[in-house]
Structure formats: C-alpha cells, structure tokens
Symmetry: C2
Subunit: 125 residues, 2 copies
Amino acid sequence: MEYVGTALAETTMPQISPLGGEPIERADAERLAGVLKALADPARLRLLSLIQSAPEGEACVCDLTAPLGLSQPTVSHHLRILTEAGLLEREKRGVWAYYRLVPTAIATIADLLTPPRKRATKKAR
Amino acid sequence: MEYVGTALAETTMPQISPLGGEPIERADAERLAGVLKALADPARLRLLSLIQSAPEGEACVCDLTAPLGLSQPTVSHHLRILTEAGLLEREKRGVWAYYRLVPTAIATIADLLTPPRKRATKKAR
DNA sequence: CTACACCATCGATCCGCCTGCATATCAGCA
DNA sequence: TGCTGATATGCAGGCGGATCGATGGTGTAG
C-alpha cells in the first residue's frame, strides 16, 4: 500500500457537495466516501477527540492506547488511516511520534456535506 | 439487524463534536460513527445526490437503479440504510416508494463535525 | 380474477476491515 | 556495541457489508 497523499488535498477533493445542484460524479463520490470511511469508526473518532483535547493539541501513541483500550499496533493502524485521509499530521520527535489535527481538514468535510445554502430567500434563522 | 430508529434523532445523537472540548464518550462515538458509516459509501452518496437533484426533490427506486448501475435489490438495500440512519424518509404512493431527504439531517452531521468555535469569547458570527 | 409492474426481503457469495500477536525498525543510552 | 523502549509492519482470524438472483407482497390495469 503506497502512500497516496492526503485525500483532502484541494486538487483531489472536488468542490461539490452531495447535496449540491448537480448529481455527484462517480469518481467524486468515491473520493468523498473514502474520507468519510476514515471518519466512520468509533475508535478513530475517539482518537481525533483525544488528540484535539490533549494539552498541546498533540499526542503520541503511548498516550492513546490506554484511553481507547486497544493494543498499540491497532492504535498505530488507526492513526495511519487518519493520516492518509489527511485528517492528522505526524511529527517524529526522538522516539515518540506526535499526532495533531490538520487544522481545516474536518471543517472541509463539513462544508462538503453542507447544502449549498440557497440563502436568497432564507432569512437568518 | 433490527430497526433501531433514526440515528439522527435528537435524543440519540449527542450534542457533542469529535472536535469538542471534552474527549468523546465511547457510546457517542459509536452513534456518530454509525451515521457516518451510512454516508461513507459511494453508491449512497450518489443516491442522496440523485434524490436531491430530482424534479420534486424526491425519487422512486425505479428512477435510481439505472443511473447507479446497480440492481434493484441493492438500491433498495442502500435506501434502507440511509433511511434507518435518518437521512432519508420514505413515502409509499401506490406501487411506488418515493424517497426524499430529511431536511436538516446532513446539516446536523456537518454541525457535529464542525469545530465548536469556543464562542464564549467568539462573537456570534 | 388474472397478469403485470414496483418494491422489499431472503439466501449466498465475495471482499474489505478491525483487531491482536509476533516481529521488525529506529532512537537513545550505557 | 548492545540493551531498552516507542512505533510501525506482517500475518491471520473473524465479522460485517456490498452485491446479485430468486422470491414474496402489493397495488394497478385489463
């Protein structure tokens, strides 16, 4: 499995929404589904949450195995999935590998899911 | 697999975000992951898109099999997944079953994914 | 009443993924 | 160099899901 780059890169992730005007293309649907699949796992959601709420907004593997109740290889596996999806970034400092959220990654997904707001007639709530 | 009701119901879907302040609970993570899992499929994303862009914002199964290139049982299966996740609603009229988007369902998911903008100090947009 | 069209369900198959154990890799240290 | 600890990778078992063909149920038309 070679590294395919962050699936959330602007060039790979289309500017379309599944709720947009035009029917979504097959290839676009597969790309978006790929990123959502990385999110659609309880362990990975908790990992994102744990990392985000960590002291410096970063955490190493050894800090994450205990709260999750999963083995270290399994945690590394999930972190890899999230990193390849473009949701996490990894920094190796000494023996430890620190993971942190990619700032706007999840917000980008949220935007893709948000309807294209035809706010012409829509009053602010 | 018995029907568990709309996973997006206010009572079942917590008001937490994976990017919220507190680490997400295990049960909450599983519920959110369940809804995301329903979204994380190319066929289902295209179904949502097709239905949304249909003339009246609704479509029956017979209109959806051809564009997707999937068999009718498979399309029914996906529609069932989306409906049980609370993303679609079904209305039977005669022999046809019309599906339409649940208005704010996907927006709710998007909100859950959106960082909780610590609005204590942040002025309301 | 019979035939037909639309849809849901069932059963079976195939494939991908979550998980853990074992092992490899790498950095720091004596 | 050799040892220890933190991560990553390989491998395999087991479960869930995506798909299709066949079947059943139900309106509608004739």
